[in-house]
């Protein structure tokens, strides 16, 4: 690996699917041994009409991983990266061990090595008990773990994880996070795309927020939160009819005038504030004076959700476990196999 270069480097990447522009000049750098979380908002994919004002000059468009050009040195690069996509790319009609051995053989490992490596990985991913079962009988979490194991067969220094926990139950999700955390502490460089902001918060050293195919902000989670600034004061009123009164009380405390968010269904109002606990006492007195009864009141630090909202003007897209994308790729007789 070339020293002094980032493990992953992208400059001015563009990609369009037909009329839809997915990447509009994306720049990224991931230092060796760190995790970059990519947060994106797919809904705002822009339609590409004619020439784009941010068109990078042809010569600046490039991407390198571990110092290798992704186009010119693609063959060599493949033995240095691991890839785990949103769809567990494992064969349902093979057992867990057969899947890993097959991948090992396709990395051109000798047979005995491939077998030994499969056993190691099965152990590490807690799949020993299921090693001889067909993968189609696995749960969603087991499939994801096997898929991740498959991308680690050759111990790649750089790993790409595309929404690794989408559609998993909370427990499998935590288990997945633990495994990923271990890999990173072992020195693996990781590029993680996710739509779960808490996932990025937990796993990533740095976060890049991508909107319309460009990075619009990047930094550590704390940097980004600091950029949104202040704390949020949130309250839930007992009677919905009191919500407007509560919002009026809150308005003068909001950092920017009129910046109170109200959600009538949840009887919920919130505002970004500065002043901490002292301010909280003042708000309570004012609400009391206005005769507003509360179910809940609290201050909380900004989350990445707030960051995302502030930066993009809309919420991050929340994938749901049964989204058409996760079933649409299957077809025919083996439908059941995709969890």
């Amino acid at each position: 690996m070339a020293h002094g270069r980032p493990a992953i480097l992208a400059e001015g990447l563009e990609k369009s699917y037909g009329e839809t522009r997915a990447l509009g000049g994306l720049d990224l750098q991931v230092e060796e041994g760190t995790v970059l979380g990519l947060l994106g908002a797919e809904r705002r994919r822009q339609h590409h009409r004619g020439s784009h004002p941010h068109h990078a000059p042809q010569t600046r468009r490039r991407a390198e991983v571990t110092g290798l050009d992704v186009v010119k040195q693609a063959g060599e690069l493949r033995s240095r990266i691991g890839l785990t996509g949103q769809y567990a790319a494992v064969d349902g009609y093979l057992t867990g061990r057969e899947n890993l051995e097959m991948v090992g053989r396709l990395y051109h490992l000798p047979k005995s090595y491939a077998r030994r490596r499969a056993d190691e990985l099965l152990e590490r991913f807690d799949l020993v008990g299921a090693a001889t079962r067909l993968v189609k009988t696995y749960s969603g979490g087991m499939r994801r773990r096997l898929d991740l194991a498959a991308s680690l067969v050759f111990s790649p220094p750089v790993l790409f994880l595309d929404e690794p926990t989408t559609g998993l139950d909370p427990r499998s999700r935590l288990a997945m996070w633990d495994v990923i955390g271990e890999l990173v502490s072992g020195g693996t460089t990781l590029l993680l795309t996710t739509q779960y902001l808490d996932e990025a918060d937990r796993l990533a050293n740095r976060i890049a927020v991508v909107d319309a195919g460009r990075v619009i902000a990047s930094g550590t989670a704390d940097d980004l939160k600091a950029r949104v600034g202040g704390e949020r004061l949130e309250l839930i009123v007992t009677e919905r009819s009191n919500l407007d009164a509560a919002a009026r009380v809150l308005a003068p405390y909001a950092r920017r005038e009129g910046n109170v968010r109200v959600d009538a269904d949840r009887r919920h109002a919130s505002a970004t504030v500065e002043g901490g606990a002292k301010l909280l006492a003042a708000v309570v007195r004012d609400l009391d004076a206005a005769g507003v009864q509360l179910d809940d009141l609290g201050l909380r630090r900004p989350t990445l959700d707030d960051v995302f909202l502030a930066l993009t003007g809309h919420a991050a897209e929340q994938p749901d476990a049964e989204s058409p994308a996760s079933t649409g790729r299957t077809g025919g007789r083996r439908d059941k196999e995709v969890a």
Binding site: V90, L94, R105, G332
Partner: protein, 273 residues
């Protein structure tokens, strides 16, 4: 990291061999993957065998009495046609299997590996060659049970079986090319049927072509299946094969020369999406 194999420390792995070696080795790894799956989805093999058995029974007992094929008994005439038809329709399995690989995420995994791109196709076609060999044996047993009495010597048998397997391999590659153009499991079955059906029936598989009207007969006499059927029939019944043997071989080799590179380049395009 607690691993015994590490790309960073153990650069000696994997051994250096030529590209052709790895293309073949990768193809065999995937062929093995496809073969071990066959007994795990027994329905597929059972149903793909039942259909040709039904054709044997249909032509042997329903139509056979009404079809005149000269001196040869109809069941002896029929079986070469059945073998070739079975193998031709067997290429549909290649198509369906490949379409499923493309639709499921598995191809994404293969794309990220330093393996030969062609291996997905060679693995599939090699496995189907093995599967077709098995089906041919089953059909031979069925034929013997309903009165098929081949008279071939060892050479005749070798030539007949060799030609059938070569033909099976060639047609799998045609099916692969079609799948890579069509790309959905459902559409593949229809697309394959459309060209296989006329090819198998407008041939010498079930009747002699002399009875067909002029243009149809011209087509039937000159299309590859008739050449292959005539050659296989000649070998099995120990009758003169004439030019059919060479023509059959030329067709198979020609198909491979066109469709192997075509399929591989189509696959690269699909995989590069």
């Amino acid at each position: 990291m607690n691993t015994s194999i590490d790309a960073r420390t153990n650069k000696a792995l994997p051994p250096r061999r030529s590209r052709v070696y790895w293309a073949l080795a990768d193809g065999l790894v995937l062929a093995k993957r496809n073969l071990v799956q066959i007994p795990r989805v027994p329905e597929l093999l059972v149903f793909s065998t039942i259909q040709p058995v039904m054709f044997v029974l249909l032509f042997r007992y329903v139509f056979g009495g009404a079809i005149d094929v000269g001196a040869t008994s109809y069941v002896d005439f029929l079986m070469a046609g059945i073998f070739v038809q079975t193998v031709a329709f067997g290429s549909m399995t290649t198509g369906v299997g490949l379409a499923e690989d493309l639709q499921r995420g598995l191809v994404d995994r293969f794309r990220s590996l330093p393996m030969a791109r062609s291996a997905v196709l060679t693995g599939r076609t090699i496995a189907d060659l093995a599967r077709n060999a098995f089906v041919i044996v089953v059909m031979l047993v069925v034929g013997l049970l309903v009165g098929f009495r081949p008279e071939a010597g060892p050479l005749g048998w070798a030539a007949a079986i060799g030609l059938l397997l070569l033909f099976s391999f060639a047609f799998s590659w045609i099916a692969a090319a079609i799948v890579l153009m069509v790309r959905s499991v459902e559409a593949v079955q229809q697309a394959e049927f459309i060209w296989l059906f006329p090819l198998t029936f407008a041939s010498s598989a079930f009747v002699q072509t002399d009875g067909m009207p002029g243009p149809l007969r011209a087509f039937a006499d000159h299309q590859p299946l008739t050449q292959i059927i005539d050659a296989v029939r000649g070998f099995l019944l120990d009758q003169p094969v004439g030019s059919a043997g060479w023509q059959a071989l030329a067709w198979c080799v020609g198909i491979l020369l066109v469709f192997v590179p075509l399929s591989v380049s189509l696959y690269r395009r699909v995989a590069a999406r």
